[in-house]
């Protein structure tokens, strides 16, 4: 009796959030899903109720689109792997720093990277990596190049660097908590049983970090595959990924239906990735997640 009453009160408290989610997320996304099956048109969007699979056929029959999908997936996977290898040691350091002042300092360092607007951070990156940027100027000054700039930006490499810079703090944040949750006695137990520091790390710490590793990679994957700003600014429209197609179709060509199709496909890829991660997570964790 009391339980149901408390439940009802909880529902009441959750209602505004639920409504917001419904009105400003679920409905627009569903609308997008709906028009992705509508007959393509140009101009101001309206629902024409002429549903077929034409847009999807178009997507999978033209290399420019499905190659962009493959590029997007490859890019997001690469970025999630790089972010893991850069982020894990840093997260490990933060997790094992017991001194509160030092720990706070490291945490602020990571979080401050998230505070600055991404566009501003990318402009900073451009100052560093542009053809006349700091790196190229320094290289020329040191005589390592004959003045021809090293192409650091407006290519795949630039996009990867930009995406890693953008996603690394998320990776670190998902790892720190998990690593901190591993009791130090577990590693000590492994050591006393005959494991070297390295063995203890691989056989105890890494497997026990797996939930954080997988959720971090999934988060980074989702952020990277859906990023529009980074491939635009760092890739200079040369690295064409799905969000760029979506933006072009809708904003420049006013082809809402086809833009929506690309968006739905990107969304499905993210969901698929999530399922793959989830399954491998539960397999790696021996069914504990």
């Amino acid at each position: 009796m009391q339980d149901t009453q408390e439940n009802r009160r909880l529902w009441l408290l959750a209602t505004p959030g639920l409504l917001f989610f419904l009105i400003f997320f679920l409905i627009p996304v569903s609308a997008l899903f709906l028009i992705s099956f509508d007959k393509s048109s140009t101009g101001i969007v309206d629902i024409r109720w002429m549903f077929d699979l034409g847009n999807y056929e178009r997507f999978f029959s033209r290399a420019i689109y499905y190659e962009a999908a493959l590029r997007s997936v490859g890019l997001a996977m690469l970025v999630s792997i790089i972010a893991l290898f850069l982020g894990y040691p840093l997260a490990f350091l933060i997790a094992k720093t017991t001194d509160p002042a030092r720990n706070t300092f490291l945490m602020i360092l990571v979080l401050s990277a998230m505070q600055l607007d991404m566009v501003i951070r990318l402009f900073g990156l451009m100052v560093l990596m542009g053809d006349k940027g700091l790196i190229n100027q320094a290289a020329a000054w040191a005589g390592w190049t004959d003045g021809t700039p090293i192409p650091l930006m407006y290519n795949f490499f630039g996009v990867v660097v930009g995406l890693v810079q953008f996603t690394l703090p998320f990776m670190i944040l998902s790892l720190v908590g998990v690593i901190q949750g591993i009791h130090p006695s577990l590693e000590e137990a492994a050591r006393s049983l005959g494991a070297s520091r390295w063995k203890a790390f691989w056989k105890v710490t890494v497997p026990m970090s797996m939930p954080g590793i997988l959720s971090g990679m999934l988060l980074v994957f989702a952020l990277a595959i859906s990023s529009y700003v980074v491939p635009t600014l760092m890739g200079g429209w040369k690295v064409v990924v799905l969000p760029i197609h979506i933006f072009q179709q809708i904003s420049e060509l006013a082809k809402w239906q086809f833009g929506a199709t690309v968006a739905v496909i990107m969304f499905l890829i993210s969901i698929a990735a999530m399922l793959v991660y989830q399954r491998s997570a539960s397999r790696l964790a021996g069914g504990r997640i």
């Binding site: 492994a190 006393s192 049983l193 005959g194 494991a195 070297s196 504990r288």
Partner: protein, 356 residues
Amino acid sequence: MSNVSLKQLVKTYGSTTAVDDVSVDIAEGEFFSLLGPSGCGKSTTLRMIAGFESISSGEIELDGRGVSALPPEKRDIGFVFQNYAIFPHMNVFDNIAFGLRLRKFPAEDIKKRVTAALEQVGMSGLEARLQNEMSGGQQQRVALARVLVTEPRILLLDEPLSALDKNLREEMKFWIKNLQSNLGITTIYVTHDQGEALTMSDRIAVMKGGKIAQLGTPRDIYQRPKDVFVAKFIGESSLLQGKVTDASETGCTFTAAGQSFKAMMRPDLKVGDAAALVLRPEQVLVSDDAPGEDWNGASGTVTSISYQGATLRYELAVGDQTIISESAIGPDTPELANGQTVNVMWHVDHAWLLPV
């Protein structure tokens, strides 16, 4: 040759000294306890022996070989943690096989040894259990099996029973002691529970402020405490404050609360010194009769009586001091009343003085 030898062991953290000049030799097969309140340096000492903490100065020798430079995995020790430290991502079998696999034992051999180890700790058939599917007692048994299966030279136990409930703790106490004496493995046991230390140990080092306050057999430490700290930490005791008023070769006279008693003399006391008499509750008798020879008697007043089930406990005022007496309830236990004047008695052999 002693099995474990601590030589002037010191551990400092910044300006605080956690372990301060600890020297002790532990014999092959001995059950040795480090006993003390939290922060006394007992766990730090154990962790230095294991190699989890570095040594600030001094040396640790295992089988006569200095091991300060050796990492934990090269010390041939087994360590059991207060929280058991069962690997949660492995089942019981893999937990116990962990050390054997690192030593590259063949698979059939591992299976045989793990099975035998599980039998030894009474956990046969639970190979597939995960950490979160086991009770504390079961985890403790697995932790012991995991350590013993690697046949370490020395077993180190860090408060292994403190997370268990009382009944299980009592049971495990005897079980661990039996297992240890059957295997004859040198064991160092850290605890803050004097009952555990007294029951299980061959010898106990009582620690305080990073130093060994007293080193001895359980009997020594209980009956002949070196100072007030040890007397109060081990078992219950009443301290009768007074003065040494006369001394001979066989004993001394101790005056407290306006009465004189016979007591054993100790070399660090002389006539005129203030001292305290340690009286264990079970060694103090309450009676209407006069004390016999070799017995001390004091006149006291019953101020409180409490029934403890197996025993009766009296608080007795002797002068302005209090003595506790606790005796088993038998058929001839006298019925005393509050305010009654009685003879408070204890044998001369139990009249142990402490410097104050």
